[in-house]
């Protein structure tokens, strides 16, 4: 046995040496791994990873995958105090519809340290206009019937401007995850909500104890108290151990590090609510639930097409109003639109992947996508949105209110891709 083992080790060692010399040979002649390459041997790895406790315990992505989040909106995150502000997800590298938990976008109402919560000590209280105020431990919440759902969360400030280069800058403040938890309605029924209670106020434990007023109709419809995210506990930056999910509503409603839900009979005008304050009823109505929206993630700004030929135009569509019903794509700057294919299932209030088969002729052109949701809401062009808000296009750097307008990408004749917002 021992001899055999030793033989095997020797064989492996020789194999590794052989692989190493092949690598050296390939590097020496400076071949690039494209379709013009003719190698006398089948391709294989340049090296092998040794097992490590780290890789065994939690796994690790390839060192060749370098996609990362970036601070959003020109403000350092973390800042000099270690406070997190806004962090954008790298949509340009996204595949499918799930945002990996470590790449999920993040926002805080005022720069925040991330609460470091022992889940054993965490509690959720439901009180106010209820028959039975209740306090739950995390273990108790996990005893209750659970649901698992796909939902996006998008920051209200996720707006594109002509200054942006990549889709991470224009649209990186939206992400989608598989969320697991208890329906808020389950707990509200357990507590027994009074008939005249029209609102809830949900509150987190971060320094500012961020709180938002949410209509009872929404709370009873589909809000979720989440402890799970993409198959594991919710990440600290996403509200560990418990966050509220308000599907389709602007990001700020999705209270993280949730500790308290107060059932009330009026809009509380919390500081978060004050952030939505407007005297324009149209703006108030639109700045609440996310509108129908989509963006092409490949090809997108900053990417490079190697040359004319076939490409799958791929992107994400979503709406706070429900399922994505249809996505259309134009490759001629909006003159003609054709249906894209929906890849996989269009879940309500979830990122939905679309794709469009395209042969690029090598000439300059402009790609756009347009989302139509199950309510019949249609994603507007930037010109339509600006016209609606009566903003002269030459002056506008951003669409007023919540911006769900169409993103144009210009493909130059050299294959480079550019933000086409003027």
């Amino acid at each position: 046995m021992g001899v055999k083992k030793s033989d095997r080790r020797e064989f492996l060692k020789r194999g590794a040496a052989l692989a190493g010399s092949l690598v050296a040979a390939r590097t020496a002649v400076g071949q690039t791994p494209d379709h013009t390459e003719h190698t006398p041997v089948a391709p294989g790895p340049d090296a092998f990873l040794r097992g490590s406790d780290e890789i065994v315990a939690y796994g690790k992505r390839s060192r060749f995958v370098t996609s990362v989040r970036i601070p959003h909106g020109g403000r350092a995150s973390p800042d000099q105090f270690g406070l997190d502000f806004h962090i954008a997800t790298p949509l340009q590298d996204s595949v499918g519809v799930i945002t990996p938990s470590s790449l999920h976008y993040m926002g805080t109402t005022r720069g925040s340290f991330i609460p470091d919560i022992d889940p054993e000590k965490h509690r959720l209280m439901i009180h106010g206009m209820v028959d039975r105020p209740l306090v739950f431990t995390m273990a108790e919440l996990k005893r209750l019937p659970s649901v698992t759902r796909m939902h996006f969360i998008e920051c209200a400030g996720n707006r594109a401007s002509s200054r942006h280069t990549t889709v991470q800058e224009t649209h990186g403040m939206t992400s989608c995850a598989e969320w697991t938890g208890v329906l808020l309605s389950t707990l509200l029924k357990e507590a027994g909500v009074h008939a005249n209670a029209d609102w809830i106020v949900a509150e987190g434990v971060e320094e500012v104890k961020g709180a938002s007023s949410i209509p009872m109709a929404k709370a009873m419809d589909d809000c979720l108290l989440c402890y799970g995210m993409n198959g594991e506990p919710v990440r600290p930056q996403q509200g560990f151990p418990l966050r509220l999910l308000v599907p389709g509503f602007e990001g700020i409603f999705n209270v993280k590090w949730l500790r308290r839900i107060k059932v009330v009979d009026q809009y509380y005008m919390t500081y978060n609510d004050f952030g939505h304050l407007t005297r324009d009823p149209v703006n108030a109505a639109l700045g609440y639930q996310i509108g129908p929206k989509s963006v092409i993630t490949h090809p997108s700004g900053g990417q490079q097409l190697p040359g004319p030929g076939f490409y799958e135009v791929s992107g994400l569509a979503w709406s706070g109003g429900g399922r994505v019903a249809r996505v259309e794509v134009t490759t001629d700057g909006g003159r003609t639109w054709r249906d894209a294919d929906i890849r996989g299932t269009a879940h309500p209030m979830a990122h939905t992947r679309f794709s469009f088969e395209w042969n690029w002729d090598g000439k300059e052109c402009e790609l756009q996508s347009r989302c139509i949701d199950e309510l019949g809401q249609i994603q507007p062009s930037r010109a339509q949105a600006l016209e609606f808000w009566s903003t002269p296009e030459e002056k506008a750097t951003s669409v007023k209110g919540q911006d769900n307008s169409i993103q144009p990408w210009r493909i130059a004749s050299d294959g480079s891709v550019h933000n086409a917002i003027i």
Binding site: R110, M125, H127, R132, P133, L134, V135, F136, E140, R143, L144, T186, K189, E190, G192, V193, V201, E203, E207, V208, K209, P215, A217, K218, D221, D222, R259, R260, K262, V264, Y267, Y268, M269, T270, Y271, F274, H276, L277, T278, R279, D280, P281, N283, A284, A285, L286, Y288, Q289, G291, P292, G321, G322, L375, G376, Q377, I378, Q384, A385, F388, N404
Partner: protein, 187 residues
């Protein structure tokens, strides 16, 4: 009688039955003092406001001693943190031209009290006493010309304060599942 016409009735009784008794019996009942300790939400009508009172004078001292001025500027403007005093506009200007300034734009005085109480000062959030919060709130209202010098605020007077935008803001619309955001809006 068809079943479908009975359905609303059944749902009604079902809901009533659910409201009367818990389904799962999981979770415990908090004590009244526990609820009081956790509950820091202040409604526009102010019923949760604690006893105590504060003055503009004390507020102006606290604004310096608690470090507010360090971020918001000694006069309530000019710092890194959001400005706390209205823009310098004409006396008869539209209140919406005062800028996005919490202690003047908010329709309710309670929002100002609530946010100072829960979220200030930076790094020592939640450490101010009710008297200190009343004082700082009074001082911010003084800075914005809403209260004269020497004024006092307490749980009775604070919710009664008439803010310039009290009735001049757009209520968020009733939310209903499966409805577009705005009737007649195509996008």
């Amino acid at each position: 009688m068809r079943l479908s016409s009975l359905l609303p009735l059944l749902l009604l009784f079902g809901a009533a039955a659910q409201a009367q008794s818990p389904t799962y019996g999981v979770g415990r009942t908090p004590t009244a003092s526990e609820i009081a300790a956790w509950d820091i939400s202040i409604s526009p009508t102010g019923e949760e406001l604690p006893p105590g009172s504060g003055t503009v004078d004390k507020g102006s001292e606290l604004f310096l001693s608690k470090g507010c001025a360090g971020c918001h500027g000694t006069t309530g403007t000019g710092g890194l943190a959001p400005r706390l005093v209205k823009l310098d506009v004409a006396a008869d200007a539209d209140p919406w031209d005062y800028g996005r300034v919490l202690p003047i734009r908010s329709p309710y005085a309670t929002t100002v009290w609530d946010f100072i109480n829960r979220g200030m000062p930076l790094g020592a959030e939640g450490t101010l006493t009710p008297d200190e919060v009343y004082s700082l709130t009074a001082y911010l209202f003084f800075l914005n010309g809403l209260l004269p010098d020497g004024s006092t605020l307490d749980r009775e007077s604070l919710p009664k304060m008439r803010m310039p935008n009290r009735d001049n803001w757009a209520q968020v619309p009733d939310w209903l599942p499966g409805k577009p955001r705005l009737e007649g809006y195509p996008y």
